[in-house]
Every structure is written in C-alpha cells, then in structure tokens.
C-alpha cells in the first residue's frame, strides 16, 4: 500500500508506543493483582483474584509479545541492541513471566495446601519481579545507556542497576499495584471487596510518593527527559493532565466509583507514556555518555517499504484485535463468580 508522504518512521514510533502503553494498561492490572495476591490468605479469596484476571491475562500479555515483534520488524537495530545489551535482565524477566503464566494455570489443579501455596508464591513473585524489571528497563532507556559507535551496548548487567532505573522499577511496581487493586475492586464483592477497599489508600499513597520522587529526580538529574517540555510550555498540559488523572483516583475511590478510578489510572498511564515518548522522540535508545551514537527512528529503522507493509498489517489487524478484546471484556464483565470451569 502507498502511504504517500506520511512519515512512516514517526508513525511507527507512535505505534510502538501505543502497543507498550496498551501493555501497561492491560497487563499492568494483572501484574498488580499478582503483586498483591499473597496479601489475601484464604484459598477462596485467592481463587477469586485469579479468576478476576483468568480470562484476560493471556490476551494482555500478547500486547508485550506483539510489541516485541513490532519492534523487531520496525526498528531491528533497537531490538537487537536492547535485547542483547539487557541480556541477563531479559532472561530474568522471561523466567518471571513463565513462572507467573504457569502458576495461574497450575495452581488450582490440585487440592494440596503446599501445592497451592507454592504456585501462589510463584505467581506473586513472578508478577513483582516482572513489574520491577519492566520499570528498570524503562528507567535505563530514559537515563540513557552507554552505546559504542556500532550502536552496541557497552555496559554490563550491574551498570543497568543504577539508582534512577531502580527508582523507576519501584514506581512501576507501585503503579501496577494501585492499578491492579482498583481492578480487583471492580471484580470482587463482599468481605474481600471491603478488605481491598481498606488497603487501596495505602497503594495510592505509596504510588503518589514514588511518582513525586521520580518526577523530582527526572527534573533534577535527567534534564534531557524534560527538554522538550521546557522548549514548548504548552506540552505542560499533558503533565497537568497526568497529575489531575492521578489526583482523581482517590476522589473516585472515595465515592466508590471504581470504574472511573480505573479509567483515571489508565489516563494517567497514557499521559505518562505520552510524555515519555515526546521527550525521547526521535530517539528510541538514548546513548549516554555519547549522544551521537543514539539509536533513533532513522538509524534504527527498517526500510520504508517494510514500514509501509507493516502499517497495512496494523490497519487490518488492530481494528479486529480491538473488536474481540472489547467483546471478551464484555462477555466476562461483572463480579467474579466461581464455577466448575474456574481456576
């Protein structure tokens, strides 16, 4: 298909951003539910939490897999540099994701207490480690990683664990836990629902503290991640939207409008990812300390022909994906009821 003078590289920068934002909004809540899974003690309650995400977590994770595939196809140099550079971090992430995936499936297949406890721990630990590592990866991309003149990573595993990336790791975990707790409120009722409502302010406060520290640290120590906003003050409206959306979450929770709180949390994520993308653009991997070696939407990209083919695929595929994602969420709407087919 011919897309005329459309800037395909920028379009794909945005599309990759959309895929990872979709991943954060969707898998974010089931990772969050996993992170707080062990806070419940009763088997029945744990089953309800598992079944709250049961029909959808797999589809949510596909956003990550498709995001990875799209990155490979649209920006192969970025895919190659990041994944080989963050080798051990990604191996750990994969192991964590595997554990959590099978734990969900295996847990309720046997009645023994030790069996269920083992997979509960696997599910929760896998969720927490995945959230942390995703945040650490984002933190490194924001901070910048050392690249050489070939665009290869020139650091080590431990150089990825700087204070700023770790801070982002914790903030991501806090964000997902809050997001997951709101989702759990929507899907539960009765005693469990009341208990989660009791916890939720702690999650919100924990996230807001992390968010404030991250914002401060970014403005002070990562000036390039605020440069565009300094140059075009109207972009501050996105930051404002982000802050208002976050501020709206406790308000909606207070009025027991859980759905609106969830939407606010999603809006906050979209605004955060939007800011992240705006400040990164046109870079995909910022090289620090040698900015000249950065990988951007041009030196990291596939040919215009491939980008055009992929855009055609996206135009065919994405509406279909959205249609059945929405139908699945619609079919499984409402509070969780355990039945014979449940986990």
């Amino acid at each position: 298909m011919n897309f005329g003078s459309l800037d395909l590289n920028t379009t794909w920068f945005i599309l990759i951003g959309v895929l990872f934002t979709g991943y954060a909004m969707l898998d974010g809540f089931d990772l969050g539910v996993g992170a707080l899974h062990l806070l419940t003690k009763k088997d029945q309650e744990r089953r309800i939490l598992l079944n709250a995400i049961g029909p959808v977590w797999d589809g949510n994770e596909v956003w990550l897999v498709t995001g990875g595939g799209a990155l490979f196809a649209a920006f192969p140099n970025v895919y190659a540099t990041v994944f080989s550079g963050f080798y051990m971090a990604f191996v750990l992430l994969l192991v964590a994701l595997i554990f959590r995936a099978v734990a969900i499936e295996f847990r309720s297949k046997q009645p023994m207490g030790w069996w269920r406890q083992m997979w509960d721990v696997g599910f929760s630990a896998g969720s927490i480690v995945s959230s942390l590592l995703i945040g650490v990866a984002m933190g490194n991309i924001a901070w910048g990683i050392p690249l050489d003149e070939r665009g290869e990573f020139a650091g080590s595993f431990f150089s990825l664990l700087g204070p700023y990336p770790l801070l982002l790791g914790v903030t991501t975990l806090a964000l997902f836990m809050m997001h997951g707790a709101i989702y759990a409120l929507i899907k539960t009722e009765g005693e469990l629902h009341a208990r989660i409502r009791g916890w939720i302010n702690h999650f919100i406060i924990f996230f807001i503290i992390c968010y404030a520290i991250t914002t401060m640290a970014t403005l002070l120590y990562v000036p390039h991640m605020a440069a565009r906003m300094r140059a075009s003050p109207w972009l501050f409206s996105i930051a404002l939207l982000n802050m208002l959306a976050i501020a709206n979450i406790p308000r909606e929770i207070h009025h027991e409008r859980d759905w609106r709180a969830f939407v606010s949390s999603c809006v906050a994520m979209v605004a955060l990812m939007g800011l992240f993308g705006l400040e990164m653009y046109p870079n995909l991997v910022f090289s620090n300390p040698s900015p000249a070696y950065s990988l951007n939407i041009h030196n990291g990209a596939s040919s215009p022909k491939t980008l055009a083919i992929m855009l055609t695929m996206a135009l065919i595929g994405v509406p279909a994906v959205l249609a059945y994602t929405v139908s699945i969420y619609w079919i499984f709407r409402g509070k969780v009821k355990l039945d014979r087919g449940s986990y």
Partner: protein, 464 residues
C-alpha cells in the same frame, strides 16, 4: 586466540540455548494445533447430534488443551525475544524481512487465540452454544495462523526470496523487495503443510493414546470409543497426508537446499538412480554410508523419476566447512521417517479393525495405540532438528553464517547462566505438565458433563 575460543563458545552455547528452548517449546504448540482440530470436530458433533457423550468429550479435551496451551504460551514468549538476546547481528541483518512475519504472528494469530481462548475455557455457561463453537473455531484458526507465520519466517531462512542486500560489511542487511515473494518463498507452503500434518498427528495420537488406555482399563468406555474413533480418523488422514507432504518437501529440498538433502541421506557422490538408505551410519571421514539401501528411491523422492541424478555433498558443498554435520542430520532424518511410517502402519491397522468392528477386543493393538502418542513427538522433534541442523553452517541459507549472527556483546558466562536457568525451569515445567496431564487422565472425563444443565441443557431432552 582467546577471542576465537570465546566466540566459538558463545556460538555453541547460543545454539544449545536455542535448541533447548525451541525443542521444549515445540512439544506443546503441535498438541494445541492438533487438539484444536479435534475440539472443532467434537463440539461440532455435539451440536449436530445432541449426543451427550460428544459434550463430555469436548469438555474433557478442552481441559487438556488448556494445559498444553498454557505451557506453550509460557515457553513461547522466550522465543519472541531470543532472536534479540542471543542473535543480535542476525536480528539486524534480517529484521526488515523476518521481523514482519513475526509481528504478523502477534497481530493476526496470538490475539485471536488468546482472546477466544477465554470464551473456550470459561464461556461454556456464559455465552450461547453457537458463540462458544465460534470461539472454538477461532482458537483453532489462531493456532494454525501462528504456525503459518512462524513457518513462513523460518522458511525464509531456508530459501530466502523477495529481498535484496543493502549496504556492505558490518552494515549489510536484507530488505524486502517483494512481500508476497517473501511470504510464498519456495519452501514456505510445503513446509507449512508438513508442519501442520505433524501437528494434527500430535493432537490425534494423544487422543488415541488416552482413549486406548481407558479401553484397556475398562473405564469410561463410551467416551473412550467415541474419542478413539475421532482420534484415529484424524490420525489416519494426517499420517497419509504426511506421506504426500514428505514427498513434496523432499522434492523442494532437493531443488533449493541440495546440501541438506544430501546430508539427510549421506549422499556424497552425485549420482543417477540414487538409493534411499533404510537405516545406517555415515562415516564422515571416508565419506561413505553403510546400511541397507533401495536403489533409485531417493531419485524418485527428489525428482519423481528413479533415473534422474541427485546432487551429492561433494558437488553441493565442495568445502567441508560449508557442510552440515552429516551423520547427525542423517540419523535425525531417518528417525523422523521411521516414526512417520510407524504412524501410518498403526493408524491403518487401527482403522481396519475399527471397520471390522473388532478393534476394541484387540488388546495388543490397543497397547500399541497407547504408545502411539510418542510417534508424532519423536517425528516432530527429529524433523525440526534435521531441518535446522541440515541448514548449517548457515543461519540464512547462502547469505549469513550462524557464526556471524551472534550478539556481539553477550559473553559465554551469561549464556551458560541462561541455559542453566531455562534448563531448570523447563525441566520443572515439563515434570509438572506430565504430572498434571497424568492426573487429568486418571481422573477422566466428568460424568456431570453427560447431563448438561442450565444454559447447556438440551432442549430435546425431556424427562421420561
């Protein structure tokens, strides 16, 4: 010198890591694809006839499907990222071409599968019967689409087409010139057919095996007889189609990857009336193969003509460093063929006695059918390894060597750590999978499924 050893170690270790993760992953998706077809058949029979046993079958095999699917997804995520972690140079080189097939798999297959899987597993009492059946179809289709794209991507590595090379030296990379020529590269459709037949066999013989075991133990007999019929029918069809597909694939490999075909058969000298070795051993030093042979059969397989010459290794890859490991490839290929022939034999026997009406009394045959579940697994693993090892030393046939595809920044010790981690996790996963599958089989189908209630109750069933 140290650097060369280091590079060699990383090469061997990275190949080992890929072989381990891909090999174990490949136990599960074929089962999902094959079981997907059987689920469509079983649930279709239920909707068409209203017989409760078909409902019971659909419910039971859906649970088995869920188990294989979950482990398939969990081990599959690794594959999506392993190209980048271990094969960064390869990823840069082929991303423009290979990446788009991988992305297509995500957008066209995975979303479809994962979305409708929810309805298939949890939707029995939430949606109408027709909607549920639609979901079963979609999951089955999604599993097939995923095979389409991954086999297209892999086939491009075997028989690259529809691209040109841009840039030189370290900067060289493949770029798409003709998308459809890339998708329909010379081997993709033949290999897709071959892979799907293998997957259908995997699903079919699992159903056959479990059902035969129930019959031997005298348990769940009505369920077992109906399942066995469905499984044997699909198994026979897939096994016979595999014979056709094997021949078509051999013809294609002979034309496009003569060195691989020569390695399959340990054929060094180009010769007319080339023989097919039934089993044997290749002496790579003496460049000879020992074992009983059928004259002319390889020429027939490769060219439909016993008289035509088949290219030997000395001509296809004159320099030894351009050849795959011959004996290893030979043994894997022969193992696959043997397993394929064995599956034809037992499915023909099974169907023959089924037609005669005496299958359920033949305990020796039922025992053979119990172990038939191993056949497709052996054939799928051996065939996949033969196809990939037979392409060596190339990662993309004729364009890029496997040794040139590695990640520049990944050290041997990291790969060792990854192999140990993945190895432990995968072994654990496999053990748990077998344990749960065994448990599910011992538990058997649920008798409550014979009297569907609520939304699933049959309108024509009236109390007597």
């Amino acid at each position: 010198m140290y650097n060369r050893f280091q590079a060699m170690d990383v090469l061997i270790l990275s190949r080992l890591q890929f072989a381990l993760t891909a090999g174990i992953h490949y136990l599960y998706p074929p089962l999902s694809i094959g079981l997907g077809v059987l689920l469509v058949i079983m649930e279709g029979l239920w909707l068409a006839t209203g017989k409760a046993v078909y409902h019971q079958m659909a419910r039971f095999w859906t649970k088995v499907f869920a188990l294989t699917f979950a482990v398939g997804v969990a081990t599959g995520i690794v594959m999506e990222f392993e190209f980048g972690t271990n094969w960064a140079a390869y990823s840069r080189y082929v991303g423009d071409v290979f990446g788009s097939a991988l992305a297509a798999e995500g957008i066209f297959a995975f979303f479809l599968e994962a979305g409708f899987l929810a309805v298939l597993l949890f939707g029995w009492e939430r949606v109408g019967r027709k909607t549920h059946y639609l979901a079963t179809w979609m999951v089955c289709l999604g599993a097939h689409f995923s095979a389409v794209w991954i086999v297209v991507a892999n086939s491009w590595m075997q028989t690259p087409a529809g691209f040109h090379i841009v840039g030189e030296g370290m900067k060289a990379r493949a770029e798409i010139t003709d998308y459809w020529a890339m998708v329909f590269n010379p081997s993709s459709m033949d290999r897709l057919f071959h892979t799907l037949c293998g997957a259908w066999q995997a699903g079919a013989y699992l159903v056959v095996s479990v059902s035969a075991w129930y019959l031997l133990k005298g348990r769940h007999e009505e369920f077992a007889r109906s399942s066995l019929r469905a499984g044997l029918a699909v198994g026979l069809a897939a096994s016979l189609l595999q014979l056709v597909s094997g021949h078509v694939s051999a013809r294609e490999v002979a034309r496009h990857q003569p060195a691989k075909l020569a390695a399959f058969e340990g054929l060094y000298e180009t010769r007319a009336q080339a023989p097919l070795t039934l089993f044997g051993w290749v002496d790579e030093k003496e460049e000879k193969v020992a074992g009983p042979q059928i004259p002319g059969l390889l020429s027939f397989l490769a060219h439909d003509d016993t008289g035509k010459p088949v290219t030997g290794l000395r001509e296809a890859a004159p320099r030894p460093e351009d050849r795959p490991p011959v004996n290893f490839t030979f043994q894997l290929f022969h193992l696959m063929v043997a397993a394929g022939v064995w599956m034809i034999v037992i499915s023909v026997l099974g169907c023959f006695y089924l037609w005669r009406g005496s299958l359920f009394g033949k305990r020796w045959l039922l025992w053979l059918l119990v172990f038939s579940v191993l056949g497709p697994q052996i054939a799928n693993q051996a065939g996949w390894f033969a196809a990939e090892v037979g392409r060596q030393p190339w990662i993309v046939q004729g364009l890029l060597r496997t040794s040139e595809g590695l990640s520049a920044v990944v050290r041997a010790k990291s790969v060792v750590a990854a192999i140990i981690l993945f190895g432990v996790v995968y072994l654990l996963l496999f053990a748990v999978f077998v344990y749960l599958l065994n448990d599910k089989i011992r538990h058997g189908p649920d008798d409550a499924d014979l009297t569907p209630a609520g939304k699933l109750a049959l309108p024509e069933r009236r109390p007597a």
